[in-house]
Symmetry: C2
Subunit: 317 residues, 2 copies
């Protein structure tokens, strides 16, 4: 090892494997490309939930029980905003607010999202790189039985209750991955590409579709390893399984593999599923992906590091 690794990640689930990779790789070797299609403008601030979950997780500041936000957070601003009758459905802690104020100020001053994110990563003392999937805004719109909803309205405000019919990524046509990513893809030092166990539809799809990134990943010499976010028919975190049922896709690791195989032919070399899903191996292999069975449930830091090592050990095909 010693080479560079690219991980594609959404929020919580992806951040767990990213943390494992961060811990087992040399400082600076990991580049996490974060979904930004969940980002939104709220209370005048630019909020990037997946980038922040990654920054907080990789810097050891994440609230582990809650799954988002900062450990030891206080909520005085939200309480005061509630007393004013302001919008408090998206909970912003006092310290978390500082991140959004800092980011919004820098963006307003003309910095691009890559620079702002790198600045935050540096100040938080990260040993890995975090990159936004796009400098320009891409925003997921969820087509539901109640009409089209901006992602955070669907996800947080409506707690994923409306039934999903599909997704649209506004701004995708104009979006391009940041130059640093293009450089990494062109570098012979890139040894592995890991698609973290994030939501395929609202976290991974927008990343892969930004500037048709998936074609560049497919053509890169480094093998692409994807880890299933669905284990034993359940999403370990978030609405992936519920979404798949509503989209008439089997809510299994095989369903995820089929989605990737169909949407991004030739992209994925290895598809890692949990030991509890070992019976799905044959079906996955028949899709042209190589199924790999491993313990993918990441509870402890040890679990995260072990799965990271496992993914990194898979050789080029």
């Amino acid at each position: 090892m010693g080479g560079e690794v690219l991980a594609l990640s959404g929020g919580v689930g992806g951040a767990k494997l990213s943390l494992g990779l961060d811990r087992v790789l040399p400082a600076g070797a990991l580049h996490v490309l974060a979904n930004t299609a969940d980002d939104f403008e709220h209370l005048g601030l630019t909020i990037c939930p997946d980038i922040d979950t990654l920054l907080y997780t990789l810097s050891g500041r994440a609230n582990r029980e809650q799954g988002w936000g900062l450990e030891g957070e206080s909520w005085n601003a939200m309480q005061a905003l509630e007393a004013l009758g302001g919008e408090t459905w998206f909970r912003l802690g006092d310290r978390d607010l500082a991140t959004h104020l800092w980011r919004s100020t820098r963006l307003a001053a003309g910095e691009c999202l890559s620079q702002v994110t790198a600045g935050l990563a540096q100040r938080l003392g990260l040993r890995s790189h975090v990159l936004p999937m796009s400098e320009t805004p891409v925003r997921t719109l969820v087509d539901t039985d109640e009409g089209e909803l901006p992602f955070q309205h669907y996800f947080v405000r409506r707690r994923c209750e409306p039934a999903v019919r599909g997704f649209r990524f506004a701004g995708l046509d104009a979006a391009q991955p940041p130059p640093a990513l293009r450089e990494l893809l062109a570098s012979p030092a890139l040894e592995k590409i890991v698609i973290c166990p994030s939501n395929p539809f609202v976290s991974v799809d927008p990343i892969l579709q930004t500037g048709e990134l998936w074609r560049a990943l497919r053509d890169a010499p480094a093998p692409v390893v994807a880890v299933s976010p669905i284990v034993a028919g359940l999403a370990l975190k978030g609405p992936a399984a519920k979404m798949m049922a509503e989209l008439q896709i089997p809510a299994t690791a095989l369903g995820v593999a089929a989605h990737y195989a169909q949407a991004y032919p030739g992209l994925i070399d290895y598809f890692v599923i949990d030991s509890s899903d070992a019976t799905l191996s044959t079906g996955i292999d028949q899709l042209g992906l190589r199924s790999i069975v491993a313990d993918t449930i990441m509870t402890t830091t040890n679990d995260k590091e072990r799965l990271a090592r496992y993914c990194l050990a898979l050789e080029g095909v």
Copy 2:
């Protein structure tokens, strides 16, 4: 009494007399026209220091020792912002941040500053009205021996250290008082106009010059009572005395009276000075203002109410 009263106010000193007026007048009778030339855009938020000092003071939430901000405030967002190397020279408490987030959101949604301010006043339970002097931005620029500085940079960041040569109010040409003020001035119910003991140059001047408001006040039938912010050659709060010395104006109540008499001829009917400045009466009378001697130092609520009653008792001339 029972009629309407208009008070012109900056921050702390003006808010004290405004509170006295608020306490002795029937609910709804007091209209405080607040200076907005101290307002600024900071961390992506629109911050209105004088409006907020008035809102917090009149709703009983002000931090009395500090002279600004909220009682019992916490500072977690600022601490986190400091850790990020963000701009923390303008201290924003966690609960105070909610006010700025609420305001900025409403302004971004297209509400005008009057509506936003009235909304805050209503939610904070005020019994008086607070109006911004202008719906559109007016921004004080301070000409100093170190060049021109935006007001809050001079006032907070540089702690009023640079020597002042003059002031410029950017945006003044396009600014107009809000329609509610025009209505009040046209109403026969308006019984008194009080110029609070605020800084003449950076708090009262911008208000009086917005849309040449001073001419409308001069022509209104209600008497205009001004209270000197300078007592015994000292500004009770803020840099007024230091500014006057730097501007080569005697830093006395007489100096303030002369400034008003010259800049706004015929405007002021009564000029209230502190008992310790009684010897200045003759000079003030010679300027064509009627000097009134009273105890103007407002420490307790009682002091504020007494001075308020005193101002309200002065009859039309």
